[in-house]
Each structure stands twice: as structure tokens, then as C-alpha cells.
Symmetry: C4
Subunit: 204 residues, 4 copies
């Protein structure tokens, strides 16, 4: 399979998932909507935005990984479908979390779902980088290790949130929001290592 | 990230949002549908068409902006996701507005959601044009200012509609419909300034 | 706007509409599904297949039209969005028709929705062919007229179905199924005129 | 129609179907979700994953087939839409199967839906390979036969599952899971025959 087909298909799945998230925010049935009557929707609205941002981060990370891949074999194809499976699943724990922020179970399931997504992304990267024939020639060992850390470190944050949920679900939610912000806010360290690696490969 | 990937992903999101809007028009449960029994659907049907046209205008505007962008850096990528976040949100206020045209709150939320979308588009354009290394060489200062006005002026119309909603929701709805029509109907001023700028850049 | 962007966006909308149709077929709530318990779904299942085929025909027709277009101006862009608006609407009358085949009102609305789609396609073609600067050079007047007839004749069939619905909804449904079959089944006349025109233009 | 358009449209449909599957997993309404309260969702979650994998296998198979096709005529186009019709239908039997694993009727309908998909894929392949003008030049007769077997053999597995459902629905479900695994797990026989055929054609 050509890499461009894999990219287009994955982009389609990411685009649909990120858009379907709004379907979890249901307009309450009844007479007339007021600011008061929409108050129960606040958790759904916040989880909508949170998951939108997190899926956005995954989409960007997916591109950065594929940028260094030149060939897709059958195993890498299925590892990519594993990544997509975990991404497609995200609307479910999102919807569950939207039913209430104080439920440690819902908060934990959300975190576990994110950990599963990072883990599948890590598997993809470990497999690809262990097969140099699938990769750009100029990817340095150090860059491979940097990406390993980028994929693994959010799992620590999410894992901590899962543990903390029994004590304070608020603390967990703050962690869920803080982790993606680390990847979105200006971040000289991250930008330097990506742009160095990118410069070493043929096309941007 | 290559610009073409960003375009394809954004197009996917726009296409899904514009299509999901019809899911807000629910066939009433019960025995047999008649013209009479569908009367309560009139607001949903009108808001469906209104939002379809407005999202269509946003899609066209998004293309015009990206046409002059040549490079996408991390910040522009995230500003683009901010635009998409506000577009993906539109089905929710659309659905709310469809529950009744006489509710000033629903009318206002709809307008605020459109203002947020124009604002995020304006941020995208301001950031891109402030970084000449991301832009086509031949974009004139005057054209940049014209687009600033194109993005800002609908906010005035929508803002007026938000204010008027307490007095007459009908007036607000007419404003919501009038603003996009300004961009759709033949409009020599708009066409001249866009085509001048387009002619100055390498590809159409 | 480049034609390829318009094509990709339109393809996205067609793909989503054709897939969303299955969401109208609801699994009945309750204990255990049996062949008996699914009998009320027969109309939904048939309308799902009918609309799938009809939207498929529209997608193919849309491509054939765009094949002969080389430039897209603002008006053609908005005529294309008008086509997409009528296509995106189709799931609603489909869903309504799925609630009962014996309801002349639902049968009529379905036909009117298809007529609106053909009409918008015809507008697109009439506008494009009236502006030679937007078209391939080698499109003959005779081919333009053939496509006019291809777009118009289904309206006669659907219009007849709308009229007949008061007398026999069954007859209307048969007409709805017969019209697209005319375009799908081997059809030497249609194929000859399309392939002649295609051969005259630069790329297939 | 150019092959790339057909591929892009089909990819869009596959991406939407694979993502819509999660919409069948409904968060139960009520007070607070617990591991206990989610137990009724286990069948939906398992069928979600099962159908995700099966649709993934179909997507990969679709690409492998199209890889050897160079020209798309009207009949092949409609055979492709027949494949997509059966793929778009899959969410319905998936949803039904998710309402209970012990219902032989739901288990059978699921299997029949998969058989229909394999059958339509086989029709596509048989038609394409019977028209050498639509195919790559270097596709050997032996490879054509290998793909015939690849498309047909799952039907045996699914057919057996349909028959066994009256005796043990569990056995049927294990068969549904085993068949796609055969295509996903490392499989030297399959890989050799595909890579031999691919090497013989111009581009990968």
C-alpha cells in the first residue's frame, strides 16, 4: 500500500472522529432553552473541547510519525489500524465523561482510553524505526528516542490522573487538559528536535 | 506539515459538518406524517439551510485564506484547529435554534457561535500575514487589509443580531441570513479585490 | 478555487450522505430481535437501498459534469453548493419514506426532493455550458443538449410518481426505482454519447 | 472515471463506516456509570471491535484489488458501488448483534451480511479480471485464482458460522473473529503471493 493512501484514510478517520464529538452534546428536550437549562450540558461541552484538542494532538503526532516513514508493509498497516481503533473509540469515554465529572469510574476510563491510544502510537513508532527499510535514511537514533519519550510521557500524566481519580476527579481533569497543552503551547525544545529531524529528510 | 494535508483534513471536517446538519432534522415519531405534522419541523429545516449556507461561506473563505499561505508552522496549524473547533461546534447552536425561533437565548447563542468562528478565522489570517515567510510573496498590504475587513464585518452584523434578539428574534434571523447572502450574491467589489490578489500569486 | 478542491469536497459530502443513510435503519429496542420483529424495518431497508442507489447515480453524474469543466468561478462554486444542499437533504425524505410506504405525503416529498436535486444539477450544467471559458474546448453543442436531456428526463419520471402517489404509492415507488436503473443497467445509447464526448477532451 | 477518484470516494466511505461503528455503543442513561452498569455494553463493545477489524480487512482487500486495476468503466463503477452498499450496510447487523450474543437470528444476519460483502468483492474481481483492458498487464492467471480463493474462503467460514448459530452462537462468534485474524496475523503464504504479483506491476 502506498503511504499516501494510508495517510488519506487515516486523515478521514481523524476528521470524522473530531467532528462526531459534537454529537455527544445533546440539546435538552423540553420547552424553552435558557442559560439555566443548559447548565447540565457544561460537562459535555468541556469534554467535547478536551477531546477535540486531544484528538487534534494525536492527528498532528500521527503526521509527524508518518513523515519519516517511506514504505508501509502489512504489519505497519495493521499497527496503523490499531492506532485508528483506539482513536475511533475515544467518543465513547468522552460521552461517558460528559455524563458527570464527579464519577471516578468515568474519569478513569477516559484516561485509560488515552493511554491505549498513546501506547498504540508507540507500538507503531517502535515497529517502524526497528525496520530501517521502511524509514527515511536520515532519521537519527537520538530523534527516534526523542519521539519515544514524546509518546510515552503523556501516559505518565494520564496514568497519574487515573490513580488520582479516586481522591479528586478535579485533579485528574486538570491533568487531562495540561498534557495536550504541553504539545500545543510554544515549546522551543519540541520544535527544535522536530525541525532538526525534518531538515535532515528530503521533503517537508 | 505540508499545506495540502492541512487543506485535505480541513475539507474533510467542513464536509462532515455540513452533512451532519441534516441529522438535526428529526422525523417526528408517531403514526402518519402529514404536511400538518411536519409544521413543527419548519424551524429545524430553516436553520439547517441557514447553517449549510453559512458553513459553505466559511469553507470558501478558508480556501481563499489558505490560497495565499505557502508554509504551515506549528502555531498556524493550531490556529487552523481553532477555526475547525468553532466550525465543528456550529451544529449545536443550530440544533438549539431549531427548537424554536422565538427564544432570544437560542438566537443569541447562534450569533455568538458565528462570531467565534469569524474571530478564529481572523486570528488565523492576522498570524499568517504577520509572518511573511509563511505567505505568497505578492500579497499586497491592501489585500491583507481587505481580508481583515471581510472577516470582521460579519461580526458586526452577527453582533447586532445578538443585541436585537431581546427586542425581535425575527430581526436577528433576517440578519443571520443577510450576512452570508452578501458573500454569495454577485458582488463586483469583492470579486475584483480577490481576483487582483489571485492574479498576483503563482497558481490559481 | 481549483477544480480538484471542489471535486474532493463534493466527493466527501457524497460519501458521507451515502453512508449516513444506514443510520435511518434503527434496530428496534426491546428483548430479542427475530425476523418477525424486524418486519417493520422493511420500508426503512428498502428506502436505504433506493436512496443509496440514487445518491450513487447523482455522484456519477456529478463527476461526468465536472469532467468537462476546467475552471470554477464563484457562481459555479455556489451552484455546486446548491447541488450539495439538495443531496445533503435527501436523508430526511428518505427517513420519512421509511416510516411508511402507504403515506402519499411521504412518497411525494421524496420525489420532490429528487426533482430539486436534478434541477440544481441542471442549473449547474446550464451555467457552466453557457460560459465557454469554464469548459473544455471540445464539448459539442449536441453533447450539451444530451446532458440537458439526461438531467431533465428523470424529473419527468419523478414528477409522474409525485402525481400518481395519491392514486397508488406502489406505482410511485416502482417509478423511483426504475429511473436510476435506467442509468445503471447497460445502456448503449448513454455510453456512446458519453464516450464520444470524453474522447474529444484532453484527459480521462 | 479516473481510478484515483474511485479510490478516494471508496476510502471516504470505508473511513466513515469504520468510524460510525462507535455510535452503536450508547452510554446508558441514568445516574452514575459504574463498571457494573456498563456490563450490558459488553456485546456492543465486542461487536464494535469485531466489525472495525472486519471492515479494516475489507478496506485492505479493496486496495489490493484496485491496485491491479488501471481503467474503470461504467460496469466496474457500479460493481464498486455494490461493494460499498454491502459495506455501508454492516453497521446495521453490527448494531443488532450488539443487542445480544445469544440470539441466533442476529448472529446469522451478521454472517449473511459479511457473506454478501465478500460476494460483491468477488463479483468486482471476476468482472475486472475478465476484462484485460481494465487490468495491469502483468497479472498472472495464477494470481487471479489466488485472489478468487482469498475472497471465497471467508464465505465458507462465515457460512459455517451461520449454520452453527442454531446450535451454539458462541461457536459462530469465534468463527467471525477467526476469519479476519487469518488475514491480519503474519501469513507467509499470503504475503508471498501478493508481493510476487505486486512486483510484476509497474508501481507499488
Amino acid at each position: 500500500m502506498k503511504k499516501s493512501r494510508l495517510e488519506a484514510f487515516s486523515d478521514g478517520v481523524f476528521a470524522i472522529v473530531i467532528t462526531l464529538l459534537i454529537l455527544n452534546v445533546h440539546v435538552p428536550e423540553g420547552r424553552t432553552a435558557t442559560l439555566q437549562s443548559l447548565r447540565p450540558l457544561v460537562p459535555s461541552l468541556i469534554t467535547f473541547m478536551l477531546s477535540f484538542i486531544i484528538v487534534g494532538v494525536y492527528w498532528v503526532a500521527h503526521h509527524h510519525m508518518l513523515h519519516f516513514v517511506t514504505q508501509v508493509n502489512r504489519r505497519l498497516l495493521w499497527l496503523n489500524l490499531l492506532v485508528l481503533l483506539s482513536v475511533v473509540f475515544i467518543p465513547f469515554p468522552t460521552s461517558l465523561l460528559g455524563t458527570g465529572f464527579n464519577n471516578p469510574f468515568a474519569v478513569r476510563l477516559y484516561g485509560l482510553s488515552l493511554i491505549a491510544t498513546n501506547l498504540s502510537g508507540l507500538f507503531f513508532w517502535l515497529y517502524a524505526t526497528a525496520h530501517p527499510e521502511l524509514m527515511e535514511a536520515n532519521v537519527s537514533r537520538q530523534f527516534v528516542r526523542t519521539v519515544n519519550i514524546i509518546h510515552s510521557s503523556p501516559m505518565l500524566g494520564y496514568g497519574l490522573a487515573v490513580v488520582l481519580a479516586g481522591w479528586s476527579t478535579k485533579a485528574s481533569l486538570i491533568l487531562y487538559a495540561a498534557v495536550p497543552l504541553f504539545f500545543i503551547l510554544p515549546n522551543p525544545l519540541l520544535e527544535r528536535s522536530i525541525s532538526t529531524a525534518t531538515r535532515n529528510t528530503s521533503e517537508e
